[in-house]
Amino acid sequence: MTRLTIRGKVIKFGDNVDTDVILPGPYLVHTDPKELAKHAMEGLDPKFPEKAADGVIVVGGKNFGCGSSREQAPIALKYAGVKCVLAESFARIFYRNSITIGLPVLVCQGVSGKVKEGDMLVVNLQTGKVEDKTNGSVWEATRLPEFIMEILEDGGLIEHLKRRIKTNE
């Protein structure tokens, strides 16, 4: 289950954060999410897993998650403690993969300009409202379509498919 209201401190990155820095290629041989999490964001900040451990919201600029199709990238973020990613725009495969593995991702235009590292954010997935409790700013993120919300509420595509199969029975 994914919570509909998410609170967390911000860790901020710039434009074009690619999947090679989110999870460098050599670690793709690992299948244990906890092992992947140890290397999350290693290409930009090797201390990221330590900083994210208590649960954070990542804010990025344009084209977040560009590059390879590796699902291990959002998995590494999720298991490192990332509760949600907000960005000006997302690369397509990363976006789909995040939904699939149950990591909420929201397009939130204007957010990267105003939010500062360490700000406390509250994100409502249902309404798309994003509040910065530190500086008082409010944004309307692009709301997720109903069927994507269903996948997220089930905790990802696997749980969603399992539930759908069960309901059909």
Binding site: L28, S69, R92, R96, N97, L157
Partner: protein
Amino acid sequence: MNILEKILANASGKHQVSSGEIVEASIDVAMIHDLTGPLAIKSFRKIGAKKVWDNNKVVIILDHLVPASSIISANLHKIVRNFAEEQNIKNFYDVGRGGVCHQVMPEKGHVRPGEVIVGADSHTCTYGAFGAFATGIGSTEMAAVFATGKLWFRVPEVIKVNVTGKLQKMVTPKDVTLNIVGKIGADGAIYKGLEFGGSTIRDMSIDGRMVLSNMAVEMGAKAGIIEPDEKTVDYVKARTDKPFKPVKSNPDSVYEKIVDVDVSNLEPQVAVPHSVDNVKPVSEIKDTEVDQAFIGSCTNGRLEDLRSAARVLKGKKISRGVRLIVIPASQEIYLNALNEGLIKTFMEAGATIGNPNCGPCLGGHMGILAEGEACISSSNRNFVGRMGSTKSFVYLASPATVAASAITGKITDPRRLKEEV
């Protein structure tokens, strides 16, 4: 409708679709490899699925860490191999049977115009060169495809890229592609389709067209399609008996934007660290020293690429202090290169030849960069740490430019090699 709309309409049983619409499409071919496959298989089991929806439509190719580079990767290969056996997947290309997935797929007849093809790899968009709708997906979505044979897509807005002009000598499809990536930008086509057309594309070989489609994802695109023509049909018919129906865009197709590119005066291009759209003409960064040069990958490891590199290297020696790594993209290409004497040319120049696989492109093995080192590469990404140390540097260029730079030890315009040595 444009070509992408037509293919998605056919695949979802509709007469008409338009951009923004979400459709559920039937999948014609689904491909996994050794790095994304194990996770897809794990998710397939978690869903509770027992059998793939159609074992003739699944293709499995070992290509990223081949032969196994460590015990961990050997175990990954074993997982995939066992799955291929258990599911009776005939189209399984083990070590020594295939090569780089995006070359093996068309070469072995698994790509046909008008089809919907998904691969658990971002460069699956390469097959757009054959007039197919082909796109990369994640491992768990692939598991869902394996279980159901279907996947949802948002019908993309399409940017038409119209390329005209005759290329100068030693200026190649890679230079055209890098130039377009620089113009459109790394995020210029997110969620969108790219359709490449124009006289330059028509004149290009299949090998050349594949470079353009391959790098569509570097602009964020979901697909990089080229209308099939006689060249496409000849190539495909020689490799598959399965019937197919080429699809073309209607003359009144709707495009979000049309980008015109004249390549008549284009000089060789280089994407400099650390972004694919940071593209400069070679003259602006010539003399940058390199430690390694790589010719290969799903972008530029084909026969045409090896021929063009060999023309530059023939009778010459690479610079002391430079490692040149040449990796043909498939067994077939390797054998042809051997028969044509290209491999001999490379070896006499001082190159190391690798077996067909992805090699150093993604920093997996076979030429990882140390801190402070620079590599000029015919591959597709120059992100921080892509080929090794996060403090290394990757310059993307054509095989001819890579070859010329290996000879001089610094980034060199292949047209000016005579003046440099």
